[in-house]
C-alpha cells in the first residue's frame, strides 16, 4: 500500500505502540481488501464496551488489555491513547439503569460500567445506540466515515450520501486512533452506482411494508447496490431505517438508491451511472408474501412471551405511536412489552411523560442495548413478536426463540392480548 509520510510515521511507532498496532492492522486489512491507499476519516462509530465474559476470553487483566486484544487484535497489552478523531460508541451490552432486567449480577454491571468509563476516558462519545444519526451524529454528503453497525452504515451511505464501508470492531478502533481506513469499496465514487434495478409494483407505505421490501431486496442482491423504481410515496427516517436494516440483514446491502429521495440519484439512469443493470427484479404481491413468510419461518405458537419494539432503536415518533396504541389498556400479565430507544431520546420520553404512560400500561422503556446484542430475554421466554425484520432475522437464531414479525400495531395488540393475531394485509 502507498502510505503518506504521516501514515508511515504511525506505522513506524512515532505515536506509540497502540497507534503502531492500529496502523499495522489497517495496512494488513487494506492489503487483504486489495486497497492501494488509506483515506482520512473524522467520524468513527465503533463498539468497545466489553462484558466480563469477553474479557476473560481475551485473558485481559484490565480494560486497556481488553481493548488491546478485542479492539486492536494485540495479545500484548498496550497503553491506549485518547482518540485522534471524533469517535462514538454504538449500541452496547447493558442498559445502565435497568441492568437488573437483563439478569446481570452486580459484579457484571460494575465491570461493564468500568469498561464504558474506559472508553469515555479515551474521548469516545457514549451515544450507546445503533442509530447515532438519530441523536446528533449526522454525516454530510461526501463525508468519509468509518462506522460499524450495518443498519447505520446503509442509512448514512444511502439516505445521507456519506461514504463508509461496513467496518468492524477492530477497524473502527484502529480508525479512532489513526483517523484512517483503507480507501476501498464505497469510499470510491465509481463503486457507488446501482447494480440491480428493482421494479416495485405494489404500494410501499407503512414501516412494515418497508421492512418486507428491504428483507426481500437483501435476499435478492446480497451485498450489491439496488436502485428502487416505482416508489410513489416519500418515506421518512423510520421507514428507511427499517428498510436498510432489513436489507443489510438478509443480504449485505450497504448502499441503495431511491431516485429523487436518497442523496445521490435523481433518476434511475443516474443511479446506474449510465450502465445497464446486472439484473432487473420485480417486487409484486408474491414477492411481498415470500418475504413475510421467510420472516415468520421460525414462528409456530401463538402465545407470545415478549413483544420487542425498537430495532434499530426507536425514535420519538415510534415511542409515541406505542403510547397511543396502549391508551387505556394494559399489557397482558404473562407477556412483556419492551421498547428500546437511544438514551438521549429517553430523556425526552421522560420529559414528555411517555415513559410514565408506558410504565402505567405495564410496558418497559429500555436504552443502550437490545436483546440480541445484550443476549437477554424475560426468564422462560420462548415466543417473541417483533415489528423489525432485522430483529426477526437475528433474534430467533441468537436466542433460540420463535419470532413473529408484523406491524407495530399487531405487535402492541399481541402484548395486550398475549397472543399473536397479526397477518399480512
Amino acid at each position: 500500500m502507498q502510505l503518506t509520510d504521516e501514515e508511515r510515521a504511525m506505522l513506524d511507532g512515532r505515536y506509540g505502540e497502540a497507534v503502531q498496532q492500529a496502523m499495522d492492522l489497517l495496512v494488513r486489512y487494506g492489503e487483504a481488501l486489495g486497497a492501494e491507499r488509506m483515506v482520512e476519516v473524522r467520524n468513527v462509530a465503533g463498539a468497545n464496551i466489553f462484558t466480563p465474559a469477553q474479557r476473560a476470553l481475551a485473558k485481559a487483566q484490565d480494560h486497556a488489555a481488553a481493548f488491546s486484544e478485542l479492539s486492536l487484535n494485540s495479545a500484548k497489552p498496550l497503553t491506549i491513547p485518547t482518540v485522534r478523531v471524533p469517535s462514538c460508541q454504538l449500541i452496547g451490552p447493558m442498559d445502565r439503569e435497568q441492568w437488573a432486567v437483563q439478569g446481570l449480577s452486580e459484579a457484571d454491571q460494575q465491570a461493564i460500567l468500568e469498561s464504558e468509563s474506559f472508553s469515555a476516558s479515551l474521548g469516545i462519545h457514549l451515544l450507546n445506540t445503533c442509530t447515532p444519526y438519530q441523536v446528533g451524529n449526522v454525516p454530510v454528503k461526501g463525508e468519509h466515515c468509518a462506522w460499524m453497525e450495518s443498519s447505520a452504515v446503509v442509512y448514512i451511505n444511502s439516505v445521507l450520501g456519506a461514504r463508509s464501508n461496513v467496518e468492524g470492531r477492530e477497524s473502527t478502533a484502529a480508525a479512532m486512533l489513526t483517523g484512517r481506513v483503507p480507501y476501498w469499496g464505497y469510499h470510491l465514487p465509481e463503486n457507488r452506482f446501482a447494480t440491480h434495478l428493482i421494479q416495485v409494483e405494489v404500494p410501499v407505505e407503512s414501516m412494515m411494508d418497508w421492512g418486507l421490501l428491504g428483507y426481500w431486496v437483501g435476499e435478492m442482491v446480497d451485498d450489491q447496490v439496488p436502485v428502487l423504481d416505482g416508489i410513489t410515496q416519500v418515506p421518512n427516517l423510520v421507514r428507511l431505517k427499517h428498510f436498510g436494516a432489513a436489507a443489510a440483514s438478509s443480504g449485505g446491502v450497504e448502499l441503495y438508491h431511491i431516485p429523487g429521495i436518497t442523496a445521490e440519484a435523481r433518476t434511475v439512469e443516474e443511479a446506474l451511472g449510465g450502465r445497464a443493470p446486472k439484473a432487473v427484479l420485480r417486487y409484486g404481491p408474491a414477492e411481498r408474501r415470500a418475504a413475510y413468510e421467510h420472516l415468520n419461518a421460525t414462528a409456530r405458537d401463538r402465545k407470545v412471551d415478549l413483544v420487542m419494539i425498537g430495532c434499530p432503536h426507536a425514535n420519538l415518533e415510534q415511542v409515541w405511536e406505542v403510547c397511543q396504541l396502549l391508551e387505556g389498556r394494559h399489557v397482558h400479565p404473562e407477556t412483556e412489552l419492551w421498547i428500546f430507544t437511544p438514551r438521549a431520546l429517553r430523556q425526552v420520553c421522560d420529559r414528555n411523560g411517555y415513559t410514565d404512560i408506558l410504565t402505567r400500561a405495564g410496558a418497559r422503556l429500555l436504552s443502550d442495548t437490545c436483546p440480541a446484542i445484550g443476549q437477554f430475554l424475560p426468564p422462560g421466554a420462548r415466543v417473541v413478536a417483533l415489528d423489525s425484520a432485522k430483529q426477526a432475522h437475528y433474534l430467533p437464531a441468537i436466542m433460540g426463540v420463535q419470532g413473529w414479525f408484523g406491524s407495530t400495531k399487531d405487535c402492541v395488540e399481541a402484548a395486550i392480548s398475549g397472543t399473536w393475531q397479526g397477518g399480512l394485509e
Partner: protein, 147 residues
C-alpha cells in the same frame, strides 16, 4: 488418494494450513449467524445450520450481514473454534477484516470457482502466502469427470 486439483488466487492472509473442507454456496453471517463458542452456524435458514467449521477449511461465497463479522471470528480464534483456513469468492470488508483477525490462511480471487471444484469432505491445503489452494478429492469413484 483421489484427484489433485490446484487453484491459483490472491493472498488475503498468509500462512499454510490444511484440513477437510466445509463448503457452502450461501454467504455466511458472523454475528447472529455463528455461535463463536462452538464454531457452529446458527442462522435460521442456512444450509449449514448446526454444523461447526472448527478445524475445517471453510469454503464460501463471501461474508454478509452484521458488522460484528470480524469480532465473532476474532472470538472463534480466542475460543479455539476457528476454521483452519478460509477460501472465498468475493472480498468485502467483513470477510477481509474477519480473516485478518482470525489469523488463519485465507485466499480469494481464484482462477476456478472454488464452490464448483471443492466439495465438503475434500482435503484442502491453503498456502496463503502463495495464493495457492490444493484440493485432494475425497472419493475418486464418486467425483464426476470435469472438462
Amino acid at each position: 488418494m483421489g484427484r489433485h486439483i490446484v487453484l491459483h488466487g490472491r493472498k488475503v492472509v498468509g500462512g499454510v494450513a490444511e484440513g477437510p473442507a466445509l463448503v457452502t454456496r450461501q454467504s455466511i453471517s458472523g454475528w447472529g449467524g455463528v455461535n463463536p463458542r462452538t464454531g457452529t452456524i446458527i442462522e435460521s435458514r442456512h444450509e449449514l445450520k448446526g454444523q461447526s467449521f472448527q478445524d475445517k477449511v471453510l469454503v464460501f461465497p463471501t461474508a454478509k450481514g452484521s458488522s460484528g463479522w470480524s469480532s465473532i471470528f476474532h472470538t472463534t480464534r480466542l475460543a479455539g473454534t476457528a476454521p483452519k483456513a478460509m477460501v472465498f469468492n468475493r472480498v468485502n470488508t467483513k470477510v477481509a477484516l474477519g480473516a485478518v483477525v482470525t489469523g488463519v490462511p485465507a485466499v480469494t480471487d481464484l482462477d476456478q470457482d472454488p464452490l464448483e471444484v471443492i466439495e465438503t469432505g475434500d482435503w484442502v491445503r491453503v498456502d496463503g502466502d502463495r495464493g495457492i489452494v490444493e484440493v485432494f478429492k475425497a472419493d475418486p469413484d464418486e467425483a464426476a469427470p470435469r472438462a
